[in-house]
Structure formats: C-alpha cells, structure tokens
Amino acid sequence: MNPVDKRRREFFGQAAAIAGAMIAPGLMLYEYAQAGDGAARPRAPGEPVNSKVRWGMLIDTTKCAPGCRDCVDACNRENGLPGTTRATDSQWIRKVDLKDLKTGKAVSLPVLCQHCAEPPCVDVCPTGASFKREDGIVLVDRHTCIGCRYCMMACPYKARSFVHENTTGQSPDVPRGKGCVESCTLCVHKVDKGGTPSCVEACAAAGHQAIVFGDLNDPSSEISKRVRAAATTQLRADLRTDNGVRYQGL
C-alpha cells in the first residue's frame, strides 16, 4: 500500500468510526420506521452494501409471453450490449422456450444470472474476480478477471458470457471490454442508487408485470410476500446453490 493510501485509509477509518457512533442510533430508528412499507432502506452515501439486504427476483412464467423479448432488449440497451446472437456474442439475459416432455405444456421464461447464495463461479475463480457482494449480487470484478473462463465452465445456468471482441459504444455506467467474463449485474449501477433493473422496468412497462425485484430479506417486500404466498422454484435446486432468482409456474 502506498503512503497516500495508507494515510487516507487510516483517516477514513477513524472518521467512519466517529461518524458511525454518532449517527448509528438515528439510522437504526430510520430503518425501523422504514421496515413497515416494504421499501428497502436506501443506503447512506458512502455506506458499503451489507448483508441485511438480499436482492432477488421472482419471475412469474405464467405472465411471460412467448416471443416477447422486452426484457432482453432493455438489458442490451441499458448495458450497451450488441444484441446480436452469434455464438461469440454476450447475452446477459435470454428467453428460453420450454416444452414439458410429458404434457407438452409450453412455457417461456427469461434466464439470467441466478445470483446464487453459494455461487459455483465464485468458488472456482482463481483470482477472486468472481465475487458475491454482501447484498447477494454476484459480479465479475473486471479489474482482476484474467479471462480463464473457468467460471463459465462451473456455472450451472450458462449465465456468463466472454467478451470475444473489442467493444465500442459502452455506456459510461457499464464498462465492458474484451478478454473478460461478464454477466447480469442486476443493473447494480442503478440498484445502488435506489433504482430497479432495466429488464424489470421494461416488463412492467409492457404491462406483463412478470418480474418482481426486491429484497428477499425484508419480510414486508412484495417479493417476500409473493414467495411466501405461492410455490416458487429455483433452477437446479438439487445443486443447493440457493438462487436469488426464483420462478413461478414452472
């Protein structure tokens, strides 16, 4: 660590301790007051994510229209993905069409990073670039990813893509580039500011309301209520990865 870093860190460490002691009781009251209305408490600026929150998604397949790609298009737009579907192109979210082999029933649903509580990609990553944030969002730190692609081998959901070519036209909020692995970030750049992932917004805007996003740890959030009320499934539950993304009607 260089001296500047060290001094800064010490200073911030002390400052944070003092500030924490001063405002913590207030924050706790605030949190208490907020708990009732189902909204996750927005973090104070400068406050790191914590494990009181676990972000999750509930996808109601009965409301997901076959052929509708609004969530996919919104994701591509938000994250500056090309949107083409060659075998080397990134797809952070994809529509999968299923047919029940016994009954012939057809189901359509989006598949994205399942934001596992026990993510295999994180276990196998040699440099620790694949990591899970305290609030359950599984990400690739593209500053330490060396592009070995072992996480793609390990992911049970094929949720990850490798950037095979030089990128252009990135959004300032969503850097991405050649030689690293990437996947759905749950639009972390928006969620950190109190926003909602773009796919969820697009699905709602189209009137389908097939995706609910929220805090699985907050018993009063809509997603928690829905998960309590109806039977939902996690993909490949046999692997016990405890996915943050759940499906209804599968």
């Binding site: 260089n2 500047v4 870093d5 800064r8 973090r43 600026p45 400068g46 406050e47 790191p48 994510v49 990591f131 944030r133 305290e134 609030d135 990400l139 730190d141 593209r142 500053h143 030089n166 990128t167 990135q170 959004s171 300032p172 909020d173 850097p175 991405r176 580039g177 050649k178 030689g179 690293c180 972390v188 750049h189 950190d192 500011k193 926003g195």
Partner: protein, 134 residues
C-alpha cells in the same frame, strides 16, 4: 436524469458562471491539451498529476466491491470533467486529456478498453456551453 447527474449538472452550471472568463492555468508537465473542465479537480492538481493512478485504483474497489457510488475518484467523473470541448472525449489524440500525458510519459493505460472515453451527454452539454477556456 439521475439524482447524482442532476447535482453534477447544477454544480457544473454554478461553477461555469463563477469561473467564466477565468482561464485555467496550463500545466507545466505534459503537453497542451484541449479539455473542458467544469470546476476544481478532486484533488490538488499537483497531487493529482503524481498520484491519480493510485487514487483511481484505490477507490474503484469501493464502487465495484462495496457498492459505494459517487466515490471521490470516480473514473467516469474524471471523464465527464476532463473531456475535450470539441468532441467530448478524453482520448483520440495527444490533445486529449488522458492521452496526451500518457503518450508523453509512454505509459499504457488500458482502462478505456472497457470504460467509456466519452463524457455523459449531460456533461458534454455543460462542456459545450460558451465562455469556458482552458
């Protein structure tokens, strides 16, 4: 526009009015660059010249790993401030802010493989406003 973007725009506009006509002092190190700046740098320029790489690398973990937005040394904020008046970019020629020095100092900086080298539209709008010179 996000709240942060809005605040930034307000800040930029205020500083614009305050600083209009006051030319910024050219740096002694490095070549002349054509950059649109909308306020004082996040650190003293002399410190910044020496240590910007360390600041950037230190703070990025705060955003990437700990989810803290609006970090002091945000790369996208550097770009928003330091983008060229002419084309809104920090790269492209030796006259561009982040490129000029690096070519001069012969360092290879790969950040813009991934990070946008163009200012956000809101920031360029501010940068395109009249009355500001380097």
């Amino acid at each position: 526009m996000t709240a942060a973007g809005f605040l930034r725009a307000i800040l930029a506009a205020t500083l614009l009015l305050a600083g209009s006509g006051a030319g910024l002092v050219a740096s002694a190190a490095g070549p002349a660059v054509d950059a649109a700046r909308s306020g004082p740098c996040v650190e003293d320029p002399a410190v910044m010249r020496r240590s910007h790489m360390d600041f950037l690398k230190h703070d990025r973990d705060d955003t990437v790993r700990r989810g803290i937005r609006g970090i002091k040394h945000s790369l996208s904020a550097c770009v928003d401030c330091h983008a060229s008046k002419a084309d809104g970019r920090v790269l492209g020629s030796e006259k561009h802010f982040c490129q000029g020095c690096h070519t001069y100092a012969a360092v290879k900086v790969d950040c813009f493989d991934c990070h946008a080298s163009t200012a956000r539209p809101s920031a360029t709008a501010a940068a395109a406003a009249p009355g500001r010179t380097r």
